[in-house]
């Protein structure tokens, strides 16, 4: 064996052995049954072992594992570059906090560009709940409710502001109330009054809005004119509609101070508990820090007898009467279910986002579809490979077997690279592997066709093999590099699953070049080393 062959043979052996070693955890992870995993949950050492194996195995993408992919857009209006960057980081930290407390394993939260955050949550059981948890700003504020005389003024101010505004033309509010003016002229002059209903028999707070009119009223409240005219106070609607047994549910509307007494950042803890006064409903109990407690005690002490609105993201969950001075603890009640209350407590503990966020993109795959995809994807890849293998052996016989060995080595190295570099295998990624199989044959075909050509020129076997490889190498490198360019562009452009495809395609091109040019060459050299061999099976 000459020196060059020794080196190449050694290199091939080392790479293949490394690949096998790198794939061991993946095989182990595959061999752990679902029942075994369930059983391990009770056994911390075994669980840690399994987690360790999983961490080293090939990572499956969300489309194969099931899970949620979200792109969140952070509202940065009115911020300078520093504030915007700061807000982005803050949002990311708080979201991480929330997810962490929600208990999703292996969450991934990364910033993307200057205003977006990408959240990946694998193996999610309740995507809707997770989405609600992530999307909420969770701004908690305690605000004093204004007195009835302010209320009458505020309604009049808004009526005047929107008088004659056709866009706000109201629909007479349905309901069993006496205060439903229906003369057209009156409505035109009093567009705000026309949309609200005062509590039957009571002239004090709150007002009510029929559920059908909630959007119109919200539009008026969001109008910049409203904030400009109502100095120091603002209207906020209730979180849930109330049902008085009438035809439509009613939404309470409170007039509150713009300046909150304290806000959620003064909380030290929040926990959910069953609401003793209202069976079946839940509440959130909170504790304030020292500064918050001082502020809260002062404000509540000064305003005994008035209403205190608890506002969450601009909607009021409840507005109880201040019975006495409150210092460092309190509770928030609303129509909360157990899950809602515990999620709210979680949100409050994790803190409010500094700004609003919106879900700009969502891709969720249920666990059952993930399982189907992986089964079908793996099956298709296996059958496709088998087809190619059979074909190669029939067409090239013994040399075909060498090509098949190279093919298997190629797939193993490709998978080992995925596992080792912690790359994600997606469904299009599986397709990429299958396609690599189809295209990896190409290099072997090029080489074998060349060798056949050389043999036809009556060269010796050894000379033909050498000439075949050296002539084919340039072609293989040129043609694969151009494909690699296309793959590279895909890698640069692609997001999510597409990236997974590009990754396997690119790695596949590189590994197939290695196996075709180095591994098969070694085997060929070894097979034809015996000079006496007269016939090459090709």
């Amino acid at each position: 064996m000459n020196r060059s062959l020794q080196i190449r043979a050694g290199l091939s052996a080392v790479v293949i052995l490394l690949a096998v070693y790198g794939l061991l955890p993946t095989f182990k992870a595959l061999s752990i049954s679902h029942a075994e995993r369930e059983a391990a949950k009770a056994n911390p050492t075994r669980l840690a072992e399994i987690e360790d194996i999983d961490a080293k195995a090939i990572r499956r993408g969300l489309d194969l594992k099931g899970g949620m992919y979200l792109v969140l857009e952070v509202d940065q209006t009115g911020m300078d570059a520093n504030q915007a960057a700061d807000a982005l980081q803050r949002v990311k930290e708080i979201l991480y906090n929330r997810i962490d407390k929600f208990g999703v394993s292996e969450p991934e939260i990364t910033t993307f560009g200057s205003s977006r955050i990408v959240v990946k949550l694998p193996g999610l059981q309740d995507p809707e709940r997770a989405k609600a948890l992530l999307g909420k700003t969770a701004r908690l504020e305690f605000r004093l409710v204004r007195q009835p005389e302010d209320l009458a003024d505020a309604v009049a101010v808004l009526d005047k502001a929107f008088a004659g505004d056709m866009a706000a033309a109201p629909v007479p509010a349905p309901g069993d109330t006496t205060f439903v003016p229906d003369q057209e002229q009156f409505l035109r002059d009093h567009p705000f009054t026309g949309l609200i209903v005062s509590q039957p028999g009571v002239t004090s707070t709150p007002l009510f809005v029929a559920e059908d009119n909630v959007e119109r009223v919200q539009a008026m409240l969001d109008d910049p004119r409203t904030a400009a005219r109502l100095r120091g106070m603002e209207f906020q609607m209730g979180m849930d509609p109330m049902n008085f047994g009438g035809t439509t549910p009613m939404r309470p509307l409170y007039l509150v101070d713009t300046q909150p007494i304290i806000s959620g950042d003064q909380l030290t803890d929040a926990l959910s508990s069953a609401d003793n006064e209202r069976p079946g409903l839940w509440q959130v109990n909170f504790t304030l820090n020292n500064r918050g407690a001082r502020e809260f005690a002062r404000a509540t002490g000064e305003n005994v007898g008035r209403f205190l609105a608890i506002s969450l993201d601009g909607r009021i969950s409840s507005a109880p009467v201040i019975q006495s001075r409150i210092s460092n603890t309190g509770s928030i009640s609303g129509n909360f279910s157990n899950a809602e209350a515990s999620d709210l407590a979680l949100l409050l503990r994790a803190g409010a986002l500094p700004t609003d966020i919106t879900i700009a993109e969502e891709r969720t795959v249920g666990p059952s579809l993930g399982a189907d995809s992986i089964r079908m994807g793996v099956n298709a890849s296996l059958w496709g490979s088998l087809l190619v293998i059979v074909f190669m052996i029939i067409y090239y016989r013994a040399s075909g077997v060498i090509a098949v060995v190279a093919l298997v080595a190629n797939i193993m190295i490709l998978l080992a690279v995925l596992a080792q570099f912690d790359l994600v295998l997606t469904l299009p990624g599986l397709a990429g592997i299958a396609l690599t199989v189809g295209m990896a044959v190409d290099a072997n075909v090029l080489i074998n066709e060349r060798i056949r050509e050389e043999l036809r020129k009556d060269k010796t076997i050894r000379a033909s093999v050498q000439a075949g490889y050296s002539n084919a190498t340039r072609t293989i490198v040129d043609s694969n590099l151009t494909t690699l360019i296309a793959g590279g562009v895909l890698l640069w452009f692609g997001t999510g699953p597409i990236k997974g495809f590009a990754v396997t395609l690119c790695i596949g091109i590189l590994t197939s070049m290695f196996t075709a040019l180095i591994v098969t060459h070694v085997i060929m050299d070894l097979v034809t080393r015996n000079q006496g061999k007269q016939k090459l099976s090709i």
Binding site: P127, T483, A486, W492, G494
Partner: protein
């Protein structure tokens, strides 16, 4: 065993027929796309939501459509997906909606479905919601990536061969992409992110095929100086024919198996690959290399014509 031993087909002779045929197909594809108002873009690019829902037991597709209509959902498209119990419901995003609204639409649609079919179990298998802003960004990125891919390939081929080869290759690639888009238009299939990935893969595959022939042309140009340009190119195509067909066959076989067995999620993707392999192989043999001949002969004729006048 060997296909095409000592093949000697007159590929360059069929040049005019092939150019005409391809020209017609390209024009047809463009016309088809024009009639349909451009390629049919999926919600990845237009914004909107796609829900894949599985029913047990399954209602008929018309019942699902009617249920959505009665719930007042406008513009929803319902198609059967995979088996008979799964449906794909596509809703475009309302004008000026943010992504969150798209996500909310999807959620509302699901609860509407559950409300309309109280006796059936409705499983949400997949949701994809894209806001219009991200949609238009993805559209730009997809277009850029295809253009950038083609551009980089021209540069590489120019660098490794000469510019003429690069231009011939790119013409063949554009031909492949347009025909694939045309077939998608013809079958009224959507262009999604996945399909853009397939298009780039087709480009990568087709250029691979083309380069193998070019490489042989370059080699034969040195070895066979006494043969005419046309003869050398025809010989090169023939010499690599067995390899071209073999590789195409195995790649096509794999793509076809993916199409048949890979499941509905990647069926369109696999379809694009199948078609792309065929058209990519055709263009490497009948378009890219003959284009070199056509070009060369035109130039020499021009020179001959020009010579006496000098």
């Amino acid at each position: 065993m060997q296909f095409f031993r000592n093949a000697n087909f007159n590929f360059t002779g069929a040049m005019k027929v092939c150019f005409t045929l391809s020209g017609i197909l390209v024009v047809l594809s463009l016309v088809l796309m024009l009639i349909h108002g451009g390629p049919r873009l999926s919600i990845d690019f237009t914004g909107g939501s796609v829900l894949q829902v599985k029913f047990a037991p399954a209602p008929g597709i018309t019942e699902v459509r009617r249920a959505l209509e009665t719930k007042g959902i406008v513009g929803a498209q319902v198609t059967a997906f995979g088996g008979t119990d799964e449906f794909l419901i596509t809703v475009p995003s309302p004008k000026g909606a943010s992504g969150e609204q798209a996500a909310d639409t999807a959620q509302a649609l699901l609860s509407d479905l559950r409300g309309a079919f109280p006796g059936n179990e409705v499983e949400l298998r997949r949701v994809e919601s894209v806001g219009p802003k991200i949609g238009s960004e993805l559209r730009t990125a997809a277009l850029n990536s295809i253009v950038a891919g083609l551009f980089l390939i021209v540069i590489y081929v120019w660098f490794r061969f000469v510019l003429r080869y690069g231009l011939a290759a790119i013409l063949a690639l554009v031909h492949d992409v347009i025909l694939t888009l045309g077939v998608f238009s013809l079958m009224d299939m959507e262009i999604s992110l996945q399909i853009v990935a397939a298009l780039l893969t087709i480009v990568g595959y087709s250029i691979n095929d083309t380069i193998v022939v070019f490489d042989r042309i370059r080699e034969n140009m040195k070895l066979r100086r006494r043969e005419s340009y046309r003869e050398v190119i025809n010989r090169s195509i023939n010499e690599t024919l067995s390899r071209t067909v073999l590789t195409s066959a195995t790649t096509f076989a794999v793509a076809a198996v993916l199409w048949a067995m890979g499941g509905p999620v990647i069926r369109d993707f696999a379809f694009a690959l199948c078609f792309g392999v065929l058209v990519g192989t055709y263009s490497s043999i009948f378009i890219a290399s003959p284009m070199l001949v056509w070009w060369y002969e035109r130039q020499t004729i021009d020179k001959k014509r020009a010579a006496p006048e000098m």
